[in-house]
C-alpha cells in the first residue's frame, strides 16, 4: 500500500513537472521560431513537391519512358 502511494505521488509529480516543462519549452520554442524563422508568404511550393528523391526518380523515369516510347 505504501509503495502504491509513493508511486502515485512521485508519478503524478513527474507527469506534471514534465508537461509543465514542455509548456515552457514549447512556448519559448514557438516564440523563437516565429521571430527568427517566420513562415514565407508562399509555402505552397514545398507542399507540392513530395520527397525529393521520389520526384527525381519520377522525373528520370518519366523522361526515359517518354523517350523510349516515342
Amino acid at each position: 500500500m505504501v509503495s502504491g502511494l509513493i508511486v502515485t505521488i512521485v508519478g503524478m509529480s513527474v507527469v506534471f513537472l514534465f508537461l509543465t516543462l514542455l509548456v515552457v519549452t514549447t512556448t519559448y520554442m514557438s516564440k523563437i521560431v516565429l521571430k527568427f524563422f517566420p513562415e514565407q508568404e508562399k509555402p505552397a511550393a514545398p507542399a507540392v513537391r513530395k520527397s525529393s528523391a521520389d520526384a527525381e526518380i519520377a522525373v528520370a523515369i518519366a523522361a526515359v519512358k517518354a523517350h523510349t516510347k516515342s
Partner: protein, 410 residues
C-alpha cells in the same frame, strides 16, 4: 479387427479431436465461455462500432485461441541443432497467433510500431497553438494512479484477487486511455494480465461517448459549457518539425524509460511533418500500422484464454479500468475549470479538459458534442485536440515513470 471395425475406430479417433469432445473435458466450459465472449466482442465491434479496428481482431483472437486441440495460440518452438554458440534451425513450430504474441508482443515491438503510425497520423498543431493544454493532458493521468492505488488495495484486502505492484501499475495504465501504451506497459510488467488489460483499455476507449458526458455535465455549470474560446493561431511548419524533437529531447534528459514509446511516436510525427519523407509516413499510417494492428489484435485476443481470464482478477481489472477512466475525465475537467478561473484573458471551456484522457480523437469529439448541446455555434473540436494529443504524451510519461519506478519499489 474387421475393416468395418477399423472404420468405426477411425471415426472414434476423429470424435476425440472434435471441439464438442474438447469442451466436455475438464476446463472445457471455460473455453466455451471465452469463445462466447469473443463473439460478443465481435458483436460490439461490428454492430455498435466500438473500436472495430481493434476489437474485431481481438475478438477473433479470443475465439481462435480457445478452440480445443487447435493450438492456434501455442508458443513458438525453434527446432534444430545446438552447436557451440549457435542454433542451426531446421523448423519453427507453434500456432500462428502464438508466433505473433511471442515475437511481437512479449518483445514490445508491436505497440511501438503502432505508436509510430499514430505519430504519423497525429497533428500537434492545436497543441502548439495553445501549449497550456498540455497541463490538461497531465491532469487526466490522475485516473492512472488512483486506479493503481485501488488495485493495490484490492490485492491486499480482497481474497481471490492477487494484484501486486507490477499488476497494479499495469492496471492503472488503462486510465491512460491509450491502447498501445497499456499493452506496452503490461507486456513489460505483468504479462499474465495482458489480455484483460488490453480488452478493458479498448472497451472503455470505445465507451468514451457513454462514460464521459455525464461526468462532464456534473462537474460544469451551463455557463462554463457555453464558454467560447479564441480562435487558434496559425502554426508554422518549423514549429511542427521542432516540437517532436524537443519533446524527445526533454524525454531523453529526464525520462529515458519513456523514450521507446515517445521516441516511436515522435519519429512517426517527424516523418509526417518534415515534408521530405512522405513515402515513409504514408507507409507508417497505412500498410505498416494495419499489418501490425491485425497481428497485435489477434495476439492480444489470444491472451483471453480461459485459465488466465476467468477469475476475480479480471473482474477487478474491468472495475478499476472504469474507475480510472471516470477519474481521468473528472480531473481533466476540474483542472480546466481551475485554469479558466486563473487566467481570465484566454477563456478555457472546461469541457475540453475531458479530452485529456487521450482516446484520440473520440474524446475530442465528445467534448465538441457536449459543447454543441449548450451552444450550437460553439465548435470545440480543434480546441479539444490539444489536450487530446497531450493526453497521449501524458500517459506515455506516466508509463515511463511506472516502468522506471515499479521494478525498484515492487
Amino acid at each position: 479387427m474387421t475393416f468395418g471395425q477399423t472404420i468405426s475406430a477411425s471415426f472414434r479417433e476423429l470424435w476425440l479431436t472434435t471441439g464438442i469432445f474438447g469442451f466436455l473435458q475438464e476446463g472445457g466450459w471455460g473455453n466455451v465461455v471465452m469463445i462466447v465472449v469473443g463473439f460478443g466482442l465481435l458483436y460490439l465491434a461490428i454492430n455498435k462500432e466500438f473500436e472495430p479496428l481493434l476489437l474485431v481482431p481481438i475478438g477473433m483472437g479470443a475465439i481462435l485461441s480457445n478452440i480445443p486441440f487447435a493450438e492456434i495460440a501455442a508458443h513458438s518452438s525453434l527446432h534444430g541443432e545446438f552447436v557451440q554458440g549457435a542454433l542451426h534451425l531446421h523448423e519453427v513450430s507453434g500456432g500462428f497467433i502464438g508466433m505473433f504474441y511471442d515475437f511481437g508482443v512479449t518483445s514490445g515491438l508491436f505497440p511501438l510500431l503502432i505508436f509510430m503510425g499514430v505519430g504519423a497520423m497525429t497533428d500537434f498543431g492545436p497543441l502548439l497553438a495553445n501549449p497550456k493544454t498540455l497541463l490538461l493532458g497531465a491532469s487526466a493521468q490522475f485516473g492512472i494512479f488512483i486506479a493503481l492505488l485501488g488495485a493495490v488495495a484490492l490485492g491486499e484486502y480482497v481474497p481471490g484477487i492477487t494484484f501486486n505492484l507490477y499488476d497494479a501499475a499495469s492496471i492503472g495504465i488503462i486510465g491512460g486511455a491509450d491502447g498501445p501504451t497499456a499493452i506496452f506497459v503490461a507486456s513489460r510488467l505483468s504479462k499474465d494480465l495482458l489480455g484483460a488489460i488490453a480488452v478493458a483499455a479498448y472497451s472503455y476507449m470505445a465507451l468514451v461517448p457513454i462514460i464521459q458526458p455525464p461526468i462532464m455535465r456534473a462537474l460544469t455549470t451551463k455557463e462554463e459549457r457555453q464558454i467560447k474560446m479564441e480562435q487558434l493561431r496559425h502554426v508554422t511548419k518549423t514549429e511542427k518539425i521542432i516540437f517532436p524533437l524537443s519533446v524527445l529531447g526533454a524525454c531523453i534528459l529526464l525520462l529515458p524509460s519513456a523514450t521507446p514509446l515517445l521516441g516511436a511516436l515522435m519519429f512517426g510525427n517527424l516523418a509526417k511533418e518534415c515534408g521530405v519523407t512522405d513515402r515513409l509516413s504514408d507507409t507508417m499510417q497505412n500498410a505498416l500500422i494495419n499489418i501490425v494492428t491485425i497481428m497485435l489484435g489477434l495476439a492480444v485476443g489470444s491472451k483471453m484464454q480461459a485459465e488466465q481470464f476467468l477469475n476475480l482478477n479480471t473482474l477487478g481489472i474491468l472495475a478499476l479500468g472504469l474507475v480510472a477512466f471516470c477519474i481521468g475525465t473528472a480531473t481533466g475537467v476540474l483542472l480546466a475549470k481551475l485554469m479558466n478561473k486563473m487566467s481570465k484573458k484566454h477563456p478555457i471551456n472546461p469541457l475540453i479538459g475531458s479530452a485529456g484522457v487521450s482516446a484520440v480523437p473520440m474524446a475530442a469529439r465528445v467534448a465538441n458534442k457536449v459543447g454543441l448541446e449548450e451552444n450550437p455555434n460553439n465548435y470545440l473540436l480543434m480546441h479539444a485536440m490539444g489536450p487530446n494529443v497531450a493526453g497521449v504524451i501524458g500517459s506515455a510519461v506516466a508509463a515511463g515513470v511506472l516502468l522506471a519506478l515499479v521494478p525498484v519499489l515492487g
